[in-house]
Structure formats: C-alpha cells, structure tokens
Amino acid sequence: MTAIATEDLLRADGVTVRFGGLTALDDVGLRVAPGTVVGLIGPNGAGKTTLFNVLSGVLRPTAGSLTWKGRTVSGQKSHRLARAGISRTFQGLNLFHKMTVLDNVVAGADRLARGGPLSLLTGFGHHHRDEAELRDRALAALERFGIAGTAHHYPSTLPYGIQKQVALARACVGAPELLLLDEPASGLSGKQLDDLAAQIRGLSEDMAVVLVEHHMDLVMEVCDHIVVLNFGKVISTGTPDEVRADPAVMQAYLGTAERSGR
C-alpha cells in the first residue's frame, strides 16, 4: 500500500460494470481524501449514477476494487458500507413516506444504535436510553437543517425544498465520514442554489462529500476536485480550473466540429 493510499478515505480502482453487452463503466478510478468535496460530472448516460451505485453497495461491479480507509470493501452490501460510515442521498429522495419526518431522521441514525438482538426484541437493557439518544440526535439534526418545525409531519405533505432538507438531515444524522449526494441541486433555483453551496461547504468540514451534479456553477463553486465521465470512462480529472480548461471536457459536452461534420 502506498503512502497516498492510506490518506484516501475511499478509493475505487479499475471499476467496470457491464449490463449484458453494455459497458456502463469501464476501468474507472476515483479517490476521495477526508474533508474534500469531489464532483462527478458528465453528460447524460455517462455512468455517474452507476458509479454512485457501486460506491454505495447497491451494485456489485463486474471488475475492480473498492477500498474504504485502506480496507477492501468490494462487493459489500449497502448496509455494511453505511455502518462503516458511507451515507448517500437519492435523486428521487426516497424518503420513508409513511413515517414522520422525525422518524425518518431517527431511522437515518440507525448505524449509531447499540444493543444486541435481545434488547432489540424485549426493549430492555440500554434500549430505552439509547433510543432517547437517537431521538435527541435526530432533533438536533432537524434544528441544524432548519426543519425542526416539521418533525411530526409526513414528508409528502411538505414542499419539495423541505423534503430535500429532510433527506439531507437523514443522510447526515448518523455522522458519516463520506456523504454521497445524488443531484442535490435538481429542482432548486436561484437563492436555494446559493444556500445549497454554502450548506455543502459546511458539511465538508465534518465529512468528505462526493456529488453527482449537472449544475456546473454549483460544481465549480464547491468542489475541490472534479472527475469527468463520458461513455463510462474517465476523460478528465483535476481541480475545477484544470477541468474547465481541458479540451476533452469541452468536446464531451459540446461535441466537435469534426464530429458533427461526419
């Protein structure tokens, strides 16, 4: 293991995903250092969400490895990665719609819960105190995300912007070390986008962040490092300025005269 490798929180090497004959990801590598914000961009169908699903254990890669804090975690299921400290949001939010906002967020803190199977069944032991702690933690998270007043509402009764905050609170309440944000800016505009940028920067003080995003302004503003995917391959990587200046990126997004002339 090299010195750099131990510094990385998460490392993906040579990740390849094939669905039948289609190669969604082809030998993709990614490194996330603690406390950094990494942006994952690329045109539609580039494989961003597929990579996200690999990083969060939803999808098992055809080839390649995943290393979390120097330990190989390839092929581990989502809940194991979550308990290890990887959290994610979903494009469709995926809130627990028949549970209150508070219960949604308490459920998000599940990885911090202690106690064996017996206390889980009977409710004896530390269960009561432990549950009260989770509840306090969830209330604090609601407060931090400015949605304390909605604790007893059902998510579907709330405006979309608030629902996004609920999803964020649920993902952050368990104090993850890595937060994967799947298109956090979708459906937001103007002032909300500025707030989101400030929020992501705030979060990165406590955890590393990887975000998939189409909103270039946001990506360029908040990311320390950007990875550009196109047709399942990494075509560029570097700081926002480096990526912006890379002709390959321009070509992927806008096409070239040569190509359109064909």
């Binding site: 979550a82 308490v106 599940d110």
Partner: protein, 357 residues
C-alpha cells in the same frame, strides 16, 4: 457542525417537540407490561359477570387476536404479505397436541415454550427461503404453505390422526380454585394471560427500533439499507416473530378446544386472518383486537341468525363468509384504515385536548 440552515426553506413553526414526559417517559416494555396487566384485570372482571360460554368464546378471541397481531407486525409493519399464516397456527396446534400426548408430564408453560421454539424454527426455514421474494411472489409462496400443510395430517395419519385429527385432554382449573372459577373460565384466563404477555412483547417490538427498521424497509428498501439497516435479515426476523405469534396462538387453540383437525387450518383460515386484519386496521396492533372479535363473533352471530330464520344448511354454512365479506367491503369503503382507524378519528379531538403536542 456549521451548516448554514437555508433560510428560504425554513418553516415558521412551534418549538421542536420536547422529550416525552410522564407515562411516555417510561421504557416501552414497562409501559406495555403495565397495559397488559390492566387488560388482564379488565378481562377477569368481565369474566365474573359473564358465563361459561362467553369465557370460551373470549378465549377464542384471545388466541385469534394474538395470531393476527403477529400478522400485523409482518404485513402492516414490514410490508410483507403472508397468505400462509394459518399454517403456523397449525404447526403450533399439532406441536401442542403431540407434546400433550407423548410427554404428558410437561407443564403447559413448557409445552407453549416448546411450541414457540418449533414455530421459530419453521419461521426461519420459510422466512429464509422467501426472503428475496416481494409482494405477490411472497404471497404466492406462503399460499402454497397454507394449501399444502394440512395435507401432511393425511399423509402421516398414524402420527397426526388424518382428517379426524388429534384429541387431547388438558387440565382445567387447579384444585385450590375449584368452585371459584370454572374450567372454561380458567382456560380463558390462561389464554389471555399468555396472549397479553406475548402482545406486550409485540407492541414493544413495534414501537422500538426493530419496528422502525421494519417500517423503513416497508417504505423504501434502498434508503433503509443506506441507513445501515440489514434489509434481508430484518425481514426474516419479522417473519419469524409473526410465525412465533401464530404458532403460540395455535398452541393455545389446541389447549382450549382439545380437538385439532386439519380442517380447521385450511387456506380459508389464512385468508380470514388477513381479511380480518385489514378490517380491524392494518396500521396498528389495536386492529388485532377488533379483528379477533370479528372473526369469532361474526361467525357466531351469523349462524345464530340463520338458525333463527330456519334457513337451509347450505345457507347457514356460507352466511358467515358472506357477512364477513360484505362487512369488509363496507368498512373499507367508509373507513379505509379499518375499525381502528375509525376509532382513532372519533377519539382524535379528545386526545388532542388531553395531550397537546
């Protein structure tokens, strides 16, 4: 953390909910055991003013309620639909009968503990086999269980007694209570004590972390997994708990009735249990109480009515089913959340007044 809260998103609302106080601050097992004790006291009082016949009927309400409460945890809690719940009652009933016949020295409590153990093993076997099935596929797999299991009684008729089933004699009231309570009343008390203890456990599971995990899985499996909840294992646990409740209910049924035949555990039983659960209210354990009452009393009332009207035997046999079906449709038309949903809506103003949030 120094996250800036998004002011444009902030909702003007009252102060965040404080930690619960008083009754709600008690640990949930303590709360539920106290409620169970209260329920038993009420039930004992009720037995004092009613007769033997009601005692036996209420015993039937008791074990049916427990069986349905287990199903509520599974269907309402974790979102897995089982059409084979009656099969676990059958496993419990036959296990009890075999234990009483072949190991008569065991006390009832030991029998029931062994019944729960057997039902747990059966639940693990079925639950693990069906853990990857969703919705209609799971329902189909459990349906096979409900259809197939009664056949075992015919296949192994030397041990299980074929279609005549097994007959056992269980002890009535202990000697020092002779003359104070009748045998039927004693059995009803034994059933309700067991049922309320088991339901206290189920309610604790429901209101605790395991219940929350189940509801999270029901609502969104991917999001639940990303919260660190082991989805597959938790679903099997829910299935096993439901099986144990069903098995214990079947064991109590054998204890009360003394006759165990495959004919009482057909697919119709499994379907009745789930229909009754929907009728009583799928979203709460209280629904099981209404469901248990409905299963036992609707049949009795319907057959009383047919006898009073001097109707044909064919009609008499089928009327309870018709009444049940019509009632189910009507209740769901007007109270989509079942009887418990209706009760909640009616008492909502009272509760709001007594405990402002």
């Amino acid at each position: 953390m120094t996250t800036t809260s998004t002011s444009s998103n902030a909702v003007e609302a009252p102060a965040p909910p404080a930690r619960p106080r008083g009754w709600r601050a008690l640990p949930s097992p303590v709360r539920h055991l106290l409620l169970a004790a209260l329920g038993l006291a009420v039930f004992t009082g009720f037995l004092l003013v009613t007769g033997d016949l009601t005692a036996l009927r209420m015993a039937a309400v008791g074990y049916t309620m427990l069986s349905i409460a287990g199903l509520q945890l599974l269907v309402g809690g974790s979102g897995q639909v089982s059409l084979g719940h009656g099969a676990f009652m059958m496993i419990g009933a036959y296990t009890t009968a075999l234990l009483v016949i072949h190991m008569p020295m065991l006390p009832l409590a030991a029998d029931l503990l062994l019944v729960v153990l057997v039902a747990v093993v059966a639940g693990i076997a079925v639950g693990a086999a069906t853990a990857r099935l969703h919705g209609p596929y799971l329902a189909g797999a459990t349906l096979i269980l409900a259809v197939g299991l009664p056949g075992l009684a015919h296949r192994y008729h030397e041990v299980l007694g074929g279609s005549n089933g097994l007959t056992i004699r269980t002890a009535g009231a202990p000697p020092f209570l002779q003359g104070v309570v009748t045998n039927s009343e004693w059995k009803a008390l034994v059933v309700w004590t067991t049922v309320l203890l088991a339901m206290a456990l189920l309610a604790t599971v429901n209101s605790g972390r395991l219940g929350r995990r189940l509801r999270a899985i029901r609502d969104d499996e991917n999001a639940a997994a990303m919260a660190g909840i082991p989805v597959g294992r938790t679903k099997v646990v829910a299935f096993v708990i439901a099986s144990a409740a069903g098995g214990l209910a079947g064991g109590l049924q054998a204890y009360v009735l003394g006759t165990i035949t495959p004919g009482s555990f057909t697919l119709a039983l499994s379907l009745t249990l789930i229909a009754a659960l929907v009728l009583g209210g799928i979203s709460s354990m209280w629904g099981a109480l209404w469901a248990g009452l409905a299963v036992v009393y609707l049949e009795i009332w319907a057959s009383d009515a047919t006898r009073a009207l001097n109707l044909d035997r064919d009609v008499e046999n089928n009327l309870p089913v018709v009444v049940f079906g019509v009632l189910l449709i009507l209740i769901l038309r007007f109270w989509p959340l079942g009887v418990h949903g209706a009760v909640q809506r009616l008492t909502a103003p009272l509760r709001k007044k007594s405990a402002p949030r």
